[in-house]
């Protein structure tokens, strides 16, 4: 069999491999580990959080620290007593050339009180899934995190420390708008 023919057979075998992988991945999509969306910005796609700042506090709460990278924002208010709350303003900009739609917001809360932390509540105002952020536009929304009465016993290693530092990490998942 000459070299050219062997290479053609190899090419066909690789094409079949690619096709098989495509079908397998489509059928097994539930088992694949698929996370949110692209983390890399390009000249076409560039949606990111540009500012996170505290706007209001209730009770004895302190604004604490904030951080943001890409479309992930972390806020860490400091609470002292039940009823304390802090409101933050988050600004998102679409610096790319493609309109974006908010697909979802995922939130994760961590505290210093071990694994039981149902005593904080958070609420987003001014943003929801399916909101469109056009290219060149920006959107500002508020997130309020409150220290409410505990529903269940909380395990804490340092009982005498009255401060409760919580961290709310919000991940905004944007996709290209199809409208």
């Amino acid at each position: 069999m000459d070299t050219r023919r062997k290479k053609n057979i190899l090419i066909i075998a690789l094409l079949i491999a690619v096709l098989t992988m495509s079908i397998s991945y489509a059928l097994l999509s539930q088992q694949l580990e698929i996370s949110g969306s692209a983390k890399i910005n390009t000249k076409e796609w560039n949606v990111k959080i540009v500012k996170v700042e505290d706007v209001a506090t209730q009770g004895n709460a302190e604004a604490g620290s904030t951080d943001h990278t890409g479309t992930v924002a972390s806020i860490s208010p400091v609470f002292y007593t039940e009823g304390d709350s802090v409101t933050y303003s988050v600004t998102v900009e679409n610096q790319g050339s493609i309109d974006a739609t908010l697909d979802s917001i995922t939130s994760a809360v961590s505290t210093t009180e071990g694994t039981n932390y149902p005593n904080v509540e958070y609420e987003y105002e001014g943003i929801k899934a399916t909101d469109i952020l056009k290219a060149g536009d920006s959107v500002k929304f508020n997130v309020t995190i409150s220290y409410v009465k505990a529903d269940q016993e909380v395990t804490t290693a340092v009982q005498s420390d009255p401060t409760k530092i919580v961290t709310l990490t919000s991940t905004l998942v944007y996709v290209q708008s199809s409208k």
Partner: protein, 378 residues
């Protein structure tokens, strides 16, 4: 420049770059980039059409094309197999019929216009200086100058450098090589596959940006070695002077070592290196040391015991401390940890799902460059 017909095309490309940059500052940049950009490039393509195509004197294109296609398909297979290890992310580009059509016209078609223009310029240019100039011109065409000036922190700069800029450079060098040594078609196929994955694949392997860059570089090395080898055989057959030299095997060895080192660093294998950035575990290990951890899977959790040193995630940070106490039962353990050099136990409890791995051994001082680098950019 000996071929004066190329001058207007160079001027048009430079104007194209300037217009793109200036329009980016205006409010209708999105409209321009999505709708007018392809039209501008199409106009340049029409002007380029009048250049002579018969100057492509590359012989034996079929064997070169076959080798190239084999390496491209291998790249796709390996790229998606890596997704089984690193995970996937959902494509942000719309996969509706309207979305695909819009993206094809706005972004995908541009790639083919650019490659056509590049090919015509290359086959009508004789010197290597011209090839370098053409490659540089198309690198500038592809990078986003407006986005460059908006980078405002070190993390953004590094992410842009290795996530966008370096891949653009490697891809343009590869396309120049393909167009010069084979023909237009492999250049189309190469860009078509690379951009096709980004625009039209429902899921994309979530590779680290450094691994992605290295994969593109390895692909370039294999393509060029294979095609250069065929050119050498060709020259010998026609008794022509060997103008191409076989690449040193040392280059490949170095590339592979770098590639597997990157895979090791980013956790592809069972053991992973971690740089220590605090002295909380002195004297076992200190800031600037590298420790090797063994990644844990679920069935190994029952083997963790008090005094084991574990690597875990808490509050968006990774911490390496010793297990001080274990609570709970085999269904759900909770670990209380403590740094050997700390007076008190840690104020938190962690669960099985937070534990990433277990400490095996340390390498002293080797992590200091990473510590300096990290502190510099923080």
């Amino acid at each position: 420049m000996k071929n004066k017909k190329l001058v207007p095309i160079y001027i048009m490309l430079v104007l194209y770059i300037i217009i793109n940059f200036l329009v980016s500052f205006t409010s209708f940049s999105s409209l321009f980039l999505n709708r007018l950009n392809p039209i501008l490039l199409a106009i340049i393509c029409i002007v380029t059409y009048q250049l002579d195509s018969s100057r492509n004197r590359n012989r034996n294109k079929i064997p070169k094309l076959q080798n190239f296609i084999i390496y491209m398909l291998l790249y796709v297979v390996i790229f998606y197999l890596f997704g089984l290890v690193f995970g996937f992310y959902k494509n942000i580009y719309s996969l509706s019929f309207r979305g695909i059509l819009s993206n094809f016209f706005s972004f995908y078609l541009i790639v083919f216009f650019q490659e056509y223009i590049r090919y015509k310029l290359l086959i009508n240019s004789k010197t290597n200086n011209n090839k370098f100039l053409i490659t540089l011109l198309f690198i500038i065409v592809n990078i986003n100058l407006y986005y460059l000036i908006k980078l405002d922190n070190s993390l953004d700069i590094i992410t842009y450098l290795f996530g966008d800029f370096v891949p653009i450079v490697i891809m343009n060098i590869t396309c120049t090589y393909l167009s010069s040594n084979i023909s237009l078609i492999p250049s189309f196929i190469y860009m078509g596959i690379i951009y096709g994955i980004n625009f039209f694949s429902p899921i994309i392997p979530d590779l680290n940006i450094f691994v992605n860059c290295l994969m593109l570089l390895i692909l370039y090395m294999f393509i060029t070695t294979s095609v250069d080898g065929l050119i050498i055989l060709d020259n010998r057959k026609y008794n022509k002077r060997d103008v191409k030299k076989n690449k040193s095997p040392f280059m490949y060895i170095l590339l592979f070592i770098t590639f597997f080192f990157l895979l090791f660093v980013f956790g592809f294998f069972k053991y992973k290196p971690i740089v220590i950035v605090s002295n909380s575990m002195e004297p076992i290990f200190s800031k600037g040391d590298i420790i090797i951890i063994e990644k844990k899977n679920t069935k190994d959790f029952n083997n963790l015991k008090i005094n084991d040193i574990i690597y875990y995630r808490y509050d968006n940070k990774y911490i390496t401390h010793r297990i001080h106490d274990i609570k709970g039962n085999s269904n759900s353990y909770r670990y209380i940890t403590k740094g050997d050099n700390n007076d008190n136990v840690d104020e938190w409890e962690i669960t099985d799902k937070d534990v990433y791995g277990k400490y095996i051994f340390r390498i002293k001082y080797l992590g200091w460059p990473s510590v300096y680098f990290s502190e510099l950019f923080n």
